[in-house]
Each structure stands twice: as structure tokens, then as C-alpha cells.
């Protein structure tokens, strides 16, 4: 059931990408030969069209692409003449590191913020809510620019471009993590407040539990549940965000590869990146499902009633 769903998602993504990319104006054969400025001869263009099957009807091209994908062949990049699989394999690590670090930082910030702002005076709640809302509303490109202005240009703490060192990762990770943290904190605070209303909190306090113990041993787990289910979606969202962040910070990675591929109309690379992101979504859905079951035993026995 799950496998069938995953296959369907991958097929739909491949199909949509295939047809959507035709909407970019320009001649693919020209793109293969180095773009509109390349002044390629008519013979060269015809040759390329034959080689890449671009003279075939659209439907035949589509089926040929599907046939290739089924065998696991992502094709060869038009621009770089290297297999797409190799190209993406080299870029995936950096982007995943960025996304996973951002997710981790977002979780820590969100937990801290929501734990701090609940169960306190109304002022704290209002301040917490304000911070969350602002953070969640920040666009990546703006936040990146502001962070660079403050922490590189102004204070000179971190480099403004990715240098491949841990210090170079700080600003990109922060740019991705802050808006996500605002969003996760909103979700966590909701469920934290909900958990604090439950009778088991009264029971726990009646045993002599203090506020810290109550949070650590009881409410924090309840608050994490919806945030865990959201994390699969969040990781996919971070991969999309990586397009902007990698471009701004001049980081090598999937996002920048995707942007370049779209500009160059490099169909196999675009399809490859999009399929890879879709695959990450699918895998993360399964992973969060399992994680939710681990965190919430009630889900494991749901069928038993």
C-alpha cells in the first residue's frame, strides 16, 4: 500500500516535471549546445535532436523517459555531459547536512521557546507568541541578507559565504532554521497548553512533581507529537529553501544545481533533482510515521480496539 503510494507520487512528479519544463521558452537542442548564444549550425542542431530523440513526438519522448527512470537511469546532463546520478550524488551530502542541521536547530529553538513561554505570566506568553509569529513570517532571502549585514559585515563573526568550514555553515543554517523554528514553536505551544489542561498533570502535581519535572517527564512528549509528524514535511520544505540559501551563500549543493539547471534548461538534471526531493519527502513521511509510533504508544495499538 505504502509502496504503491510512493511509486504513484514519484510517477506524478516525473510527469509534471517533464511537461512543466517544456513551458520554459527556448529550444532544448540549443540548450544542449551551450545556450542561445552558441550560434550552433543547423546541422549540429539536427544532429543533437536526433541523438537526444528530440525529433520524436512528445508522447514518445515521455514514454522513453519513463522507461529510463524505471531502470534507475536518470540520464546525462545536457550542460555538463556527466551522468545525472553522479552529479546529484556529489551534491546531496552538503544539502542534506544543511537541511538536517537546520531541522535540528529549529527543533531546539522551538522547544526552548515554547517551554519558556507557556505556564508563565501573560507577558511571557504574548512575547513568545510575537517572536514565533515574526520568525515564521520571515522570508529566507531577506533574513539571509540581514544576518550577513549583522554578523559578517558588522560584527565579522562569521563569513558571508560558505567556506566549507563549520563557521561557514552557521549563517545558512540560521537562515533556514529561524522561520521553521517559529512555525514549529507555534504548533508545540498549542499542544503544550493542551497537555497542561489534562487530568494527568493534576495527578502528577499531586504526587509532588515540580514544574520542571512536569515539563521534562510529561508535557514535553505530548507537545512533541504534532511537531514530529510535521518534521517530514519540514525537511522537504528545507530542501526547497536550500535553493535560495545556497545561491545567496554561494554554497555547492542541490539547490544551486537545480537553479543552474533550470536556467540552462538542463532537463535531465531538473528532473533528477525534483525526483530526489520527492523521494526525500516520501522517505521522511515513512520515517516520521515510525517516529510518531515510537513517541506515542497509543498509535501502535490503535488497530487493537
Amino acid at each position: 500500500m505504502l509502496a504503491a503510494g510512493a511509486v504513484f507520487v514519484m510517477w506524478a512528479v516525473a510527469t509534471l516535471t517533464f511537461f512543466a519544463i517544456r513551458l520554459i521558452p527556448g529550444d532544448p537542442a540549443e540548450a544542449i549546445l551551450g545556450g542561445p548564444g552558441s550560434q550552433a549550425s543547423q546541422e549540429a542542431l539536427d544532429q543533437v535532436r536526433r541523438d537526444y530523440g528530440l525529433d520524436q513526438p512528445l508522447l514518445v519522448q515521455y514514454l522513453a523517459m519513463l522507461a529510463r527512470l524505471v531502470t534507475g537511469d536518470l540520464g546525462t546532463s545536457y550542460a555538463l555531459r556527466t551522468p545525472v546520478a553522479d552529479l546529484l550524488g556529489g551534491q546531496l551530502g552538503g544539502t542534506m547536512l544543511l537541511a538536517v542541521l537546520a531541522l535540528l536547530v529549529a527543533w531546539i529553538l522551538a522547544l526552548g521557546l515554547s517551554l519558556w513561554s507557556t505556564g508563565r505570566a501573560r507577558v511571557a506568553a504574548a512575547v513568545g507568541e510575537g517572536i514565533e509569529l515574526t520568525a515564521a513570517a520571515l522570508p529566507h532571502f531577506w533574513l539571509a541578507a540581514v544576518l550577513i549585514a549583522i554578523f559578517s559585515t558588522g560584527l565579522d563573526w562569521f563569513p558571508p559565504i560558505a567556506t566549507g568550514t563549520p563557521a561557514g555553515l552557521v549563517l545558512p543554517v540560521a537562515t533556514l532554521a529561524i522561520p521553521l523554528a517559529g512555525f514549529l514553536a507555534q504548533v508545540m505551544r498549542e499542544s503544550l497548553l493542551d497537555a497542561l489542561q489534562q487530568p494527568f498533570v493534576v495527578s502528577a502535581r499531586a504526587r509532588g512533581e515540580n514544574t520542571t519535572g512536569l515539563r521534562l517527564r510529561h508535557t514535553i512528549r505530548h507537545a512533541s507529537l504534532p511537531a514530529i509528524s510535521l518534521s517530514g514535511w519540514a525537511l522537504g520544505w528545507l530542501l526547497s529553501g536550500a535553493v535560495v540559501v545556497e545561491t545567496i551563500f554561494a554554497m555547492p549543493g542541490l539547490g544551486r544545481t537545480l537553479l543552474q539547471a533550470v536556467t540552462l534548461r538542463d532537463v535531465p538534471v531538473v528532473t533528477g533533482v525534483v525526483l530526489l526531493v520527492a523521494l526525500v519527502y516520501v522517505v521522511m513521511t515513512v520515517v516520521t510515521d515510525v517516529a510518531s509510533r515510537l513517541a506515542d504508544p497509543r498509535l501502535r495499538q490503535e488497530g487493537a480496539r
Binding site: V202, R205, R207, G208, R221, Q301
Partner: protein, 545 residues
């Protein structure tokens, strides 16, 4: 020295005082009960005695001593030391009163971890010992389970074990057996009794006089945050001084024969005047039983798929419900009562057997043919509120039901005012929304809605289980009156033997999907033939001090 010595306890939320000077004392081995209906301030009192009346609550008292220590102005830190060590708290419904994400062993371990410096192995042994003490079979296994994985009775035992972990001299039990089946309730009550015998003082909070009469040495009756009667259990139950106490006692339906009004006076907001109730017979009902049944179950079975097989929720059930008659269906939770209701309403199809409505096929018809016949069966449920669209006014809810019911019959739809009048509500209720009504008013609106289509059969699934005893009495009286006036056939489903006994002409006792015994109500209850029925009757709490 009393374990608990309280004088003039007052609790206010803002300017609104909800507890007006309650005083009580509990000695070792004594059980004091606070009885009252919802909103009487009894739960707030219980919490205030643990220093946790709630956010924004102001607690004042002339004296608040636990084990001789004055706690009237104690800090949160001092209170934390009292909680769990000197006073244990048992709440209602362990499914939500124990953290559903943690194993019960850890919940029981909490007080040990918080208050005592004990090595983990010793704590573990203590937890297992506690589980054994509260009668948990296989403590080793149970300690690793979460509240949702245990049955209602077992998880309530686990909750009690967590309150008893450090052997506190005083235990506060707030509705400890509400929402439990009678046999489970009986066992939990004897467990509490054992604890009291062992010398623990118990403050029992309950709305149920029958439960209280099993345990309490003293009874405090509260109303609107004040103690209106205070005496030994014998005195209060046998010779109540206050009219309100008398009304509470009269409203307990157990042992009161059919056709006796339960509610002493239906509208007396402050004090209920008049002599003690004598049991007023309304009329002698019971039409000729030879009339053909309106609703008939013929060897009906219905199963559900569960992991590892199939569960027969209803197994070879045959029933007959005649006009003007009430058939009571009793059984514990999970016995298949609600599946019977759903089958009767045509909401689910039987796997085998048939349900007939007025001699015609009912369960076997396609829904399209069944729909025009639906108006002949009405239904009311336990939770009236969730059966309404909260945005609709009462008037709209009733007008809608009436017009649907009248469709295709050629009769005019009954007027909303008439419907409200029949269920004893004033016409102005039509403009209000369900959320702004009291529990009793909501159930009256639900009854009016069920009657709007002028049905012949009324299915009542636990219609009074969520109501206070005096409100329950009014609703039962209302149902009885309406049945007589309209000749309704009623299928009355409840886990409460007293209620079923009071309402039914015939009863069927259900267990694990099967009818184990059926017959005339008095015959079945007076001389049960099946051991299960006998056990149910024996376990049912009774008002005998």
C-alpha cells in the same frame, strides 16, 4: 490528632467565591464524604486541600492543618512536600489521569523518586509490591503497560497505587469510581475500604450517594459551595434534615418500582419545600403484551475485524419490543449494547439474522428505501451536546427535525413551541444555542428532537449517564410521562441497573454479545437465574447505610 483539620475554607476565582467556608476533620481510618452535584464546589475543595485550587484561585481559611501542620499560607515548596507524601490524590478515569505516554510503573515510581532517596532496585521492588497490594494480576507485566493498554478497572487500580506509593496517611478520592462498570466499581470500592481499614483517612468526593453509602463514616452534603448538612452516614441517609438531601436520596432510582416519580420537585432553584418523598405512582402502565412487536431482532449477529480475528459484538440476539413498552438492555461496557442500538437504528447491517420494523424488513433494505421509514425510530444518546450542530439554535435544530419527519406524511410538522413544551422547556429556549444550556436542558432538547418526527420507537442509549442524580431523575420522569402519553416503544440501554430497573417492563442482560437472561423486570432482578445477572445485582451500589 486529626489527619486533616479544616475550618472556614474559602476559594475564590477573581471576585467570584465558589467555596464559602467549608469545615471538616478526618481522623485515621475514617472516611468522610463530600456529596453534591456538579458545580457544588466539591472538586475545587479537594484541590484546595492540596494547595492546587487552580490558576487565579485565592484560597483563605481560618485553619488548614494536615497532620497538625498549618498550611494556610504555605509556600509552593512546602505544598510539594505534602503532596504525594502526606496526602495522595485519586482522580476519576485513569485513562487520562495517568499519563497515557508513560508506563504505569513509572507513574507509580514518581512519588518514590521525588520524595525518597531510594536505590532504583528498591524502588522497583516497591512499585511491584504496590501493584500487588491493589490487586493487579501479574505486576511485573503490568508495570510496563500504559494506561491505555489496561482495562478500566486495572488502570484505576494503578492510579490508586500511584497515590498510595508512599503510604500517605490521608487519601483524597475525587469521583474514584465514576465511569466504571458496576462490578469494577464494587471491587474498587472494596479496595478503598481495605485501605481505610488499614488506618488511612479517606476524603471521598462523589455525586453518587449509593457509592458514598458504601464507604463513608460521615457525610457532608454541599450545595453552591456550602455545606448544608453534616452528620454521620447513618443520620444523613436515614433521617436527612435538609429538603435538598432528601431530594438527592429520593432521586436514586435503585429499588424504586416503575411508575414512581423520582424527582420530588422539578423547579425549585433554592430550596425544595414539601414533605419527604413517598413515591407517587403516576399511573399503572403495561399495555396488553399480546400486541405484535414494533421492533424485532431475529437471531441477529454482527462482528468486527480486530487484529488476530473477528470479534462478535452481537451474537445470536433475539429481541421483541412492543408498543407502549420499555425494554431495558443492561450490560457492562463492551458487551455489545451500543451495537444493538446501531442495528436497531439501521446504521449498520447485521452479518446474519434480520431486524424487522413493524413486521416489515428493516435491516435488509437498501438505505434508499429505509430513509422514508426512518422517522418511525428516534434516538437519544448520552452526550447530547456532541449530537447537535453547535452553531444552530435550538429552534432551528427542532424545526429541521420536525420538517424532515413530516416530509411525505401529509401532516403538518409539529411546532417548535409545542415540542419544547412537551419536554418541559420554556419557548425562549428556542433562541439559545446548545452550548449555553445545562446538561439537563440539552438532554430535553435531544428528546424533543427525537420526538419531532413523531416516532413509534425511541432508542435511548445511556440517556442519563452523564447527568447529576436529581437531573437524571427529572429526565427519567419525563421519558416515562412521554411514553405513556404517546404509547412509545422504548429500547432503554444502560449500564446502570437501578435506572434500567426503574424504567423497564422487560429486561435483557447482555454479556460479550449474547443475551444471557431476559424476562419481566422484577422477575429477573428479584430472582436472577443466570450467575452473571446475580453478580450484577449483587455489585450494584445500593442506598443502605
Amino acid at each position: 490528632m486529626p489527619l486533616l483539620d479544616v475550618a472556614g475554607l474559602r476559594v475564590a476565582f477573581g471576585d467570584h467565591e465558589v467555596v464559602h467556608g467549608i469545615s471538616l476533620r478526618i481522623r485515621p481510618g475514617e472516611c468522610v464524604a463530600i456529596v453534591g452535584e456538579s458545580g457544588s464546589g466539591k472538586s475545587v475543595t479537594a484541590r484546595a486541600l492540596l494547595g492546587m485550587a487552580g490558576a487565579g484561585a485565592r484560597t483563605r481559611s481560618d485553619r488548614l492543618r494536615v497532620l497538625g501542620r498549618e498550611l494556610g499560607s504555605a509556600s509552593e515548596r512546602t505544598w510539594r512536600d505534602v503532596r504525594g507524601r502526606q496526602v495522595g490524590l485519586i482522580l476519576q478515569d485513569a485513562l487520562v489521569s495517568l499519563d497515557p505516554l508513560r508506563p504505569i510503573g513509572r507513574e507509580i515510581d514518581d512519588p518514590l523518586r521525588i520524595h525518597e532517596r531510594m536505590p532504583p532496585a528498591a524502588r522497583r521492588a516497591r512499585v511491584l509490591g504496590l501493584l500487588a497490594r491493589v490487586g493487579m494480576p501479574d505486576p511485573e507485566f503490568a508495570a510496563g503497560r500504559r494506561s491505555g493498554e489496561l482495562s478500566g478497572g486495572l488502570r484505576q487500580r494503578a492510579l490508586i497505587a500511584s497515590a498510595l506509593a508512599l503510604d500517605p496517611p490521608l487519601v483524597i478520592a475525587d469521583e474514584p469510581t465514576t465511569a466504571l462498570d458496576v462490578s469494577v466499581q464494587a471491587r474498587i470500592l472494596s479496595l478503598l475500604d481495605e485501605i481505610r481499614e488499614a488506618g488511612t483517612g479517606i476524603l471521598l468526593i462523589s455525586h453518587d450517594l449509593a457509592v458514598v453509602s458504601r464507604l463513608a463514616d460521615r457525610i457532608l452534603v454541599t450545595r453552591h459551595g456550602e455545606v448544608i448538612e453534616d452528620g454521620t452516614a447513618d443520620d444523613v441517609l436515614r433521617s436527612p434534615r435538609e429538603p435538598y438531601t432528601r431530594a438527592l436520596i429520593a432521586a436514586v432510582p435503585t429499588e424504586r418500582p416503575r411508575g414512581t416519580a423520582l424527582a420530588v420537585a422539578t423547579s425549585a432553584p433554592a430550596a425544595i419545600p414539601g414533605p419527604p418523598p413517598t413515591g407517587v405512582p403516576i399511573a399503572t402502565g403495561s399495555d396488553a403484551p399480546e400486541r405484535p412487536p414494533l421492533l424485532r431482532f431475529d437471531r441477529v449477529a454482527k462482528g468486527f475485524s480486530v487484529p488476530g480475528g473477528r470479534l462478535l459484538a452481537v451474537d445470536d440476539v433475539s429481541l421483541a419490543l412492543r408498543p407502549g413498552e420499555t425494554l431495558g438492555l443492561v450490560g457492562e461496557s463492551g458487551s455489545g449494547k451500543t451495537t444493538v442500538a446501531r442495528l436497531a437504528l439501521g446504521l449498520t447491517a447485521p452479518d446474519s439474522g434480520v431486524v424487522l420494523l413493524d413486521g416489515e424488513a428493516w435491516s435488509s433494505r437498501p438505505e434508499r428505501e429505509r430513509r422514508p421509514m426512518r422517522r418511525r425510530i428516534g434516538a437519544i444518546y448520552q452526550d447530547a451536546l456532541s449530537s447537535f450542530d453547535p452553531r444552530w439554535s435550538v429552534g432551528r435544530i427542532l424545526a429541521d427535525a420536525a420538517s424532515v419527519g413530516a416530509r411525505g406524511t401529509g401532516r403538518p410538522a409539529p411546532r417548535v413551541e409545542d415540542l419544547l413544551d412537551q419536554v418541559g422547556l420554556v419557548a425562549s429556549v428556542a433562541r439559545r444555542r446548545p452550548l449555553n444550556l445545562s446538561g439537563g436542558q440539552r438532554q430535553r432538547v435531544a428528546i424533543a428532537r427525537a420526538l419531532a418526527a413523531e416516532p413509534d420507537v425511541l432508542i435511548c442509549d445511556e440517556p442519563v449517564s452523564a447527568l447529576d442524580v436529581t437531573i437524571q431523575a427529572q429526565i427519567l420522569d419525563l421519558l416515562d410521562r412521554l411514553q405513556r402519553r404517546r404509547g412509545l416503544a422504548m429500547l432503554f440501554i444502560s449500564h446502570d441497573l437501578g435506572v434500567v430497573r426503574h424504567m423497564s417492563d422487560h429486561v435483557a442482560v447482555m454479556r460479550a454479545g449474547r443475551i444471557v437472561e431476559s424476562g419481566g423486570t422484577e422477575a429477573v432482578f428479584a430472582e436472577p437465574r443466570h450467575p452473571y445477572t446475580a453478580q450484577l445485582v449483587a455489585d450494584a451500589p445500593r442506598l443502605t447505610p
